[in-house]
Amino acid sequence: MQTKHYQKLYMVPYFLWIIVFVVAPLLLVLYYSFFDVEGHFTFTNYQKFFTPVYLKMTFSSFWYAFLITLIALIIAYPVAYLLTKTKHKQLWLLLIIVPSWVNLLLKAYAFIGIFGQYGLANGLLGLVGIAPKQILFTDFSFVFVAVYIFIPFMILPIFNALNELNDTYIDAAKDLGASKWTTFRRVIFPLTIGGVKSGCQIVFIPALSLFMLTRLIAGSRVITLGTAIEQHFLVTQDWGMGSTIAVFLIIAMFIIMAFTADRKRGA
């Protein structure tokens, strides 16, 4: 009895943490979403969300998040695969992860320097005889920087999945007549799909609510739901509308989590 009692006691900090920092904020967001700017209870926020302005914003958020995830995946999978084949794979992996420890804002400012009118990128273009281009404040620069920032989070789970893959499965596929491509398509990829799913989850969900980068790199050309929330809370002070968008974002996240979760086979 005594030990059981203590075990419950150990759980207290965990529950406190969950209640104060997870459950309470979610409930508060939900609560605020039912009030307008003047503090009256209303459903208009939800009506407003289904107007073309917000629907377009939602669509563009999803579209950019999708693009960022897709490009990150296309780059990360081969990189992770090559990493598992290198001799000092843990060292190489560390080198790829290190930039993710640098503050996001610092990296964003660095890219402002690189992509600027007199930055490194335009300097290099000039060397090959191309006139300076507007790189900063374009869709391209936004996606490029976002992919750069998220890519370590995509590589890591895929690397782990590939690293744990038993080599005899590859031998077995070859033995049964599979070419390299068939082996990849029929064996390696299906067996590492778990890593791909977690990578997509880790990238897609934060990419959906990106807001700093949209302003700094995309120059408010790209307005996502994240940007809208920020604007409502800090600029228009319409906490109600901001909360409503947040509610939809949270719902979207739960849907994506359910969608990318590992389903148990053969149950």
């Binding site: 038993n166 005899t168 499965y169 031998d171 077995a172 596929a173 070859k174 033995d175 049964l176 007549g177 599979a178 070419s179 068939t182 029929r186 064996v187 299906p190 067996l191 086979r265 053969g266």
Partner: protein, 369 residues
């Protein structure tokens, strides 16, 4: 080499970096439709031979031939060989049907044919009706059968089996030995089976290659290898043996433990130092005065089928006896054996020299007749 030869190794050496070679100038031929066993302790190079045949690795030097063509650089997926892996390597994301169908789908068979062939292969290994099962739902023995079905369904010329029974319990292992042997006879394709278990090798094979330290020590039928081991390693590794030092007096007479005994070996130089092998089951317990050897019982162990009795003679040699007769520790008993039970090995004799000596007997026999 004859027309029946399907695989041939010519002077094959495999070496990683500057380590000791894993295989050291190995030569052998594999004939169509036989059951071969590569037998040896772990690390002897037997799995490397299998990987060379499968095409997962290339020899450092020498040639691997299939049907008389050099196959050194033919990739694994272009070889008419299928492997049953030690841990089965069944694809966990596919069910039993899809695992077996894997090779057929790559060969682009029609869906109808695939279904027919897979069903046939599964019924061959007594797994009819298990098509829709997940691999994770199968027991070790069933997985083993799926792995075999996945190999035979492609109708390869050769099936390689890498210690496939080592993960099974004793009863199932014995049962699978019968089934594999039976399957090989029914299919009529070449099986190359790798194991470190000498009983398995003796029970199943047409021919055994005993391998140690990257070299083939001896090859032959199970009976040849058991009865006529070429050296101490083979005698010791295959079954249990009593090996004592002796001297060849002349043909048909050998001396050991200070006495002379009649034997059936010949063609060895007189007074040559030899090693004498007598199998424990060839030693019979008799009263002291009737024995060819007089020994003192050191300990006995009941093994079910027989007693395992360890004795010492006056010269200090240890003798292991398998007998259904009981003996008490401390007893002094006699051991009797037939001249045929004595097998004489010449120290340092290679398999070629050994074979030549055996052949020379045959010539003598015919000329005598």
């Amino acid at each position: 080499m004859n027309n029946n030869t399907i695989i041939q190794f010519k002077d094959v050496t495999k070496q990683f970096a500057d380590d000791q070679p894993v295989l050291d100038h190995v030569n052998f031929e594999i004939e169509r439709g036989k059951f071969y066993t590569l037998l040896g302790p772990s690390g002897c190079g037997k799995t490397t031979i299998l990987r060379l045949i499968a095409g997962f690795t290339q020899p450092t030097s020498g040639e691997v031939l299939f049907d008389n063509h050099i196959y050194n650089h033919v990739p694994a997926n272009k070889r008419q060989v299928n492997t049953v892996f030690q841990d089965y390597a069944l694809f966990p994301h596919l069910n039993v049907f899809e695992n077996v169908a894997f090779g057929l789908r790559i060969q682009k068979f029609k869906e109808k044919d695939i279904e027919k062939k897979v069903k046939q292969a599964l019924s061959f290994v007594n797994l009819a009706g298990y098509e829709e099962r997940e691999v994770s739902e199968m027991s070790g023995g069933q997985r083993q059968r799926v792995a075999i079905a996945r190999a035979i369904v492609n109708e390869p010329q050769v099936i390689l089996l890498d210690e496939p029974l080592s993960a099974l319990d004793l009863k199932l292992r014995t049962q699978m030995q019968y089934e594999l042997r039976d399957l090989q006879r029914r299919l009529g394709i070449t099986f190359i089976f790798v194991t470190h278990d000498q009983e398995e090798a003796l029970a199943m094979s047409d021919e055994i290659f005993v391998i140690n330290k990257g070299k083939i020590q001896q090859s032959g039928t199970p009976i040849d290898i058991y009865d006529e081991p070429v050296n101490r390693f083979v005698a010791d590794f295959i079954g249990e043996s009593n090996i004592v030092k002796g001297t060849m007096i002349r043909d048909f007479l050998v001396s050991f433990t200070g006495k002379e005994f009649e034997c059936v070996d010949q063609g060895i130089a007189e007074n040559k130092k030899v090693e004498v092998v007598i199998r424990p089951e060839d030693l019979h317990i008799v009263p002291w005065e009737q024995g060819k050897l007089q020994v003192k019982v050191h300990s006995t162990l009941f093994r079910g089928v027989h007693y395992e009795i360890i004795c010492h003679d006056s010269a200090g040699n240890e003798w292991l006896v398998h007998s259904t007769k009981k003996a008490k520790a401390g007893d002094t008993i006699g051991l009797y054996f037939d001249p045929e039970a004595i097998h004489v090995m010449v120290v340092g004799e290679t398999e070629e020299e050994f074979d030549r000596r055996l052949e020379s007997y045959a010539v003598d026999d015919t000329s005598a007749n």
